[in-house]
């Protein structure tokens, strides 16, 4: 059977987040974005709405929902703003999910309740200055066991949510030895914020996602208890492959939101703005642009729904996730370009949502696997080897 619409409960959640984005985020985000401030107040409200705990069972402070629910929330938030959406995406997809999936019972009990409530944030540090795509090959961060403690040395770049005043912990992927086949053994170690030897650099100056918190992290003789190993030793590579596959569906949903936001904004604008004696929406050139934008947003949504449905059914979804991320990030980029064009000079102004969309779209083709990586994954799933 093929479903074409959401179940009642998911639809209600979607509507509720849609209203929140419109009533709470939209009025304040332009100003926060301009100042590059982290949206603490909005994050607290997202927390009270239970959005951080959506895919986590109630026993750990979650909502007992699923990843699809998270993705719906991301799409609705990104229709209005991507900085807020990526804050939620990274907090859940990269922060909470690895803990929930791979953490020991004790780790889950220790960290998840405050993370699910949105009172604290967790980050995940995989990318390094020397490489994000070839992350295993380029990994220089090392961790060694010494007197019952992990001692970590190295650095991580572009780590989302790693330096807020509510950041609790960063999962750090590090080389912990050499496997029998000679390849590096990678493990994930939980490093609480404020641990001596763990330094958070000042935030980056970014092209977009201005309210999202991104830092370079460095570790110099940073010591944490042996029990801070996330799950099993040597499972780091497998852990982040799984995390990234899921994360791609989430980024695809977020990208779909941005693509849809471009349609929403453009539709309103062309009815309102006049030129040559009438609304600009009567020009076929702009109607066709908007029609193309609608097509892209629609295709992007179908692609991520399909990937999310396969994931929910417990079926392999690697290829579908890559297709969704590629399709949706392209849609976001193309729609942001068209929407700013429709807005003319105002499209180039930060105070207009489409101006923000333009700045926020590019990263979607880069983060959590570049578009080249998505094509590599799809080709590999088709049986084409390097």
């Amino acid at each position: 059977m093929i479903g074409y619409k959401l179940g009642d409960e998911h639809e209600e959640l979607r509507k509720s987040v849609e209203a929140f984005a419109r009533d709470v985020v939209a009025p304040v985000i332009g100003d926060l974005y301009e100042k590059g401030e982290f949206p603490y107040d909005i994050v607290a409200q997202l927390g009270r709405m239970g959005l951080f705990g959506l895919p986590v069972p109630e026993e750990y402070g979650g909502m007992g929902g699923d990843y699809l629910a998270l993705c719906l929330a991301l799409e609705e938030l990104a229709r209005v703003d991507s900085s807020v959406a990526i804050t939620l995406e990274a907090a859940v997809g990269l922060g909470i999910m690895p803990l929930y999936r791979f953490g020991t019972e004790e780790q889950k009990r220790q960290w998840l309740p405050a993370l699910c409530a949105g009172e604290r944030l967790a980050a995940f540090g995989l990318t390094e200055p020397g490489g994000g795509t070839d992350v295993a090959g380029a990994m220089k961060t090392r961790a060694r066991l010494e007197d019952g403690e992990w001692v970590i040395d190295g650095s991580k770049s572009f780590i989302t949510n790693s330096g807020t005043s509510i950041t609790a912990v960063v999962g750090v992927a590090a080389v912990t030895g050499t496997r029998p086949d000679g390849r590096p053994e990678i493990s994930t170690i939980l490093v609480p914020s404020g641990t001596p030897g763990f330094t958070v650099a000042p935030k980056y100056s970014k092209v977009g996602w201005s309210c999202s918190d991104t830092h370079e992290l460095s570790f110099a003789g940073c010591r944490v208890p042996a029990a801070n190993l996330l799950g099993e030793r040597g499972r780091g590579y497998a852990q982040f492959l799984r995390t990234l596959d899921e994360g791609r569906v989430a980024i695809a949903a977020l990208s779909t939101g941005l693509a849809q936001g471009c349609v929403d904004e453009s539709l309103a604008y062309v009815r309102d703005r006049t030129a040559f004696g009438g609304p600009i929406g009567r020009f076929q050139a702009l109607q066709f642009k908007i029609a193309d934008m609608e097509v892209r947003a629609h295709n992007a949504r179908l692609a991520w729904w399909h990937a999310a449905a396969k994931m929910a059914a417990g079926e392999p979804f690697k290829k579908e996730a890559a297709i969704a991320k590629l399709t949706a990030s392209n849609a976001a980029m193309d729609n942001a370009r068209d929407a700013t064009q429709i807005f003319g000079g105002y499209g180039f102004m930060n105070e207009f949502a489409v101006g923000r969309f333009y700045r926020d779209a590019k990263i979607l083709e880069i983060g959590e696997g570049t578009s080249e990586v998505q094509r590599m994954l799809i080709a590999r799933e088709l049986g084409l080897d390097a």
Partner: protein, 261 residues
Amino acid sequence: MTTLNIVVCVKQVPDTAVERTLTPEGTLDRESPDGLINELDEYAIEEGLKIAEAHGGEVTILSMGPAKAADSVRKALSMGADKAVHVLDDGLAGSDALATSAALAAALTRVGFDLVILGSESTDARTGVVPAMLAERLGVPQLTLAATVEVSGAGVTIHRLTEDGYAVVTGSLPAVVSVVEKINEPRYPTFKGIMAAKKKPVRTLTLADLAVDTGAVGLAGAATGIADWAARPPRTAGVVVKDEGDGGSQVAGFLAERKFI
């Protein structure tokens, strides 16, 4: 008092963001546009939940409206209310404020209450008289236009919004309280709340169940009638006052002409 029995009245209204139309009888067409919870009622629900959380108690949603009002009842339950009563009867269509208060009072008498909370007016009819009528019919104190509500022992105290500040009003329970927007920030339902709402009991009551005479409610029982109506004239361009030293007196003259000052 061990557990407070709080009843929040919730009305489904047409979305104010979409074009609203009238039926041939001149009443609001409630079928076509999307129905939403009347905005002020969301504040009433929030206040009910907060009082129940602080003092221990149960929140019952009471809604009178057509079948599709069930969506709004469900939403109220997803915010955290415990159960609901939906007064549903074709004979209620076209009820004015007086008739509405009769049906609601009958339902309240039937389900019982310590505290009734409702929005001070609805975005569709905006009569703002239902809370007072309800209290009168029930023979209990009315505390209207509350910007704060404090329950203590067997009494309730509110800050009643006035034009130049507020008045402190105290009454004994049971009582009817109507709230204004200032009172709180309504919560958004969580996914857990949405899922739990599916399993919460909703009782449907008809006019016969409430022993309300069909002649007393609906269009037939309405004490007010619509004699005529017209669409609001389109907005005109307005007057631009150019200040050439006499801007102030021009503005004052404009306002005085329209009896604003």
